[in-house]
Symmetry: C2
Subunit: 251 residues, 2 copies
DNA sequence: TGACAATTTTGGTCCGACTATAAGCCGCAT
DNA sequence: ATGCGGCTTATAGTCGGACCAAAATTGTCA
């Protein structure tokens, strides 16, 4: 992707084992995954036969198959003897899967999809904050407070600031004592954090997020479920507005 | 398991290609997946080496590796050279993945987990109903009405009845016009439907679900978001109560 | 004794052959 | 013509065996 300049098909793998980082099958899955999510291969399309595609990628058939297995596990494709490997309809994709989310945000994210994600977040996170207010223990509050302090110290423009922000939300999720909710909101949160880059890019950083977060913290500390929920709803709504304006799309 | 007498490890694959149905790597993934989710292999555990495990299962190393790829794609395990394949901490599992859910409900489902699922459902579905009330079109209402009619015709004890119930909820999700919410609620709904079996098993069928569903339909048809949301909340709460009592666990 | 090097274990990749499945075609009978 | 059933054949599925690469362990030497 750097100075080689070639990669004619746009899909050729690095032949040099140097600096692969990921395993080979992993990068294959990544490439094809991005291609599918970004629409290069539309739902219903049939991928080239295993032999053709794998040698087009210049990898062994085994590695290619393992990549396809991963994609199939995420609901992106389905392979059947004689029929080939077909891209499944979007409704079957595990859109909440962390990897799929990563692939979706690898290119220019679809504005509509981002809106949907925020909508879901606006449903889940306030509820999570409410549960957290009811179930948090002393340790949860300590972590929450520490994250808040870190957010005050560093701006959201810095890496440390974003990590603190993430810690804050993660701590709330842990406090819900609900695994399912944790997994879900963690995925959404990750996706949402990608959009933060767009906010930064647009230099649209007019709002100081600290007060919003502080209000959430106070309500959780006070054990005020309704208050925590409401405060979180405000926080998410504001984040959505920022993102929407930064992406140049109407809310 | 029958007269073969052997199968020492309790994990040996059927050697007879007869009635496999699933592909081989699929059944391997299923077996190991269930074993992990049910706690046979605890987080942090290292699976036997590829050669050992694959020949213990009496399958080729390739098939085994493909199965592991699928599990890795769902966040259940992680493989690293020399380090082996290790079961990841529960927090990394894609608990909302349809397959993982299936595996989780393959054995006796964990009561706590079911409660968490219902809690999440209680958050998402009412919100979805609200959005549906705002965005549904004539076609959505038609499908919804038809599903409701089918539910009246067949009891929930029948397969047709359960399908109708599922159609009803799916139609609501489609009406939200939110892909992310659709995928999520579909997963949860599938999981919840497993629990229906437990309700049946316990013969705890005291409640007639039609009125609850009808109220949701009426509110959506009327475009009453708040009403639809409230009606759905009631519906989910009642379902939770039924399930909880059927599972013999306190709410 | 501590740093370095050889060893060995284990996953990663490749190859080539064979098998099993089902889509699509062809022909038969209606 | 039409619908059904068997046959063909392309394609994914499975296998086994070989070699590569990385990392944990062990052993060795300064």
């Amino acid at each position: 992707m750097t100075e080689h300049g070639e990669d004619v098909e746009g899909m050729a793998m690095e032949r040099t084992p140097r600096g692969t980082g990921r395993r080979l099958h992993g990068s294959i899955a990544h490439k094809i995954g991005v291609a599918i999510v970004s629409g290069t291969y539309a739902p219903g399309d049939i991928l080239s036969s295993e032999v053709d595609f794998s040698e087009a990628l210049d990898v062994s058939r085994g590695a290619y198959r393992e990549a396809i297995r991963a994609l199939a596990a995420k609901g992106l494709v389905e392979s059947r003897p004689k029929a080939g490997t077909r891209v499944l309809p979007r409704a079957r994709w595990n859109l909440l899967d962390p990897d799929v989310l990563t692939w979706a945000f690898a290119g220019e994210p679809d504005a509509q999809f981002v809106r949907n994600l925020f909508e879901l977040r606006a449903v889940v996170e306030p509820a999570a904050a409410g549960f957290a207010a009811e179930r948090r223990d002393r340790e949860d509050l300590r972590v929450l407070k520490e994250a808040l302090a870190q957010m005050r110290r560093h701006s959201l423009a810095t890496e440390a600031g974003r990590i603190a922000d993430r810690d804050f939300h993660d701590a709330i999720l842990r406090a819900t004592r609900n695994d399912a909710m944790m997994v879900l909101a963690a995925s959404i949160g990750a996706a949402v954090s990608w959009t933060t880059q767009y906010k930064q890019r647009a230099r649209a950083l007019p709002r100081n997020p600290i007060p919003d977060h502080a209000r959430v913290y106070e309500a959780i500390a006070a054990g005020d479920a309704a208050g925590a929920s409401a405060a979180m709803r405000v926080l998410v709504d504001l984040a959505l507005q920022d993102t929407a304006s930064a992406m140049g799309a109407p809310v």
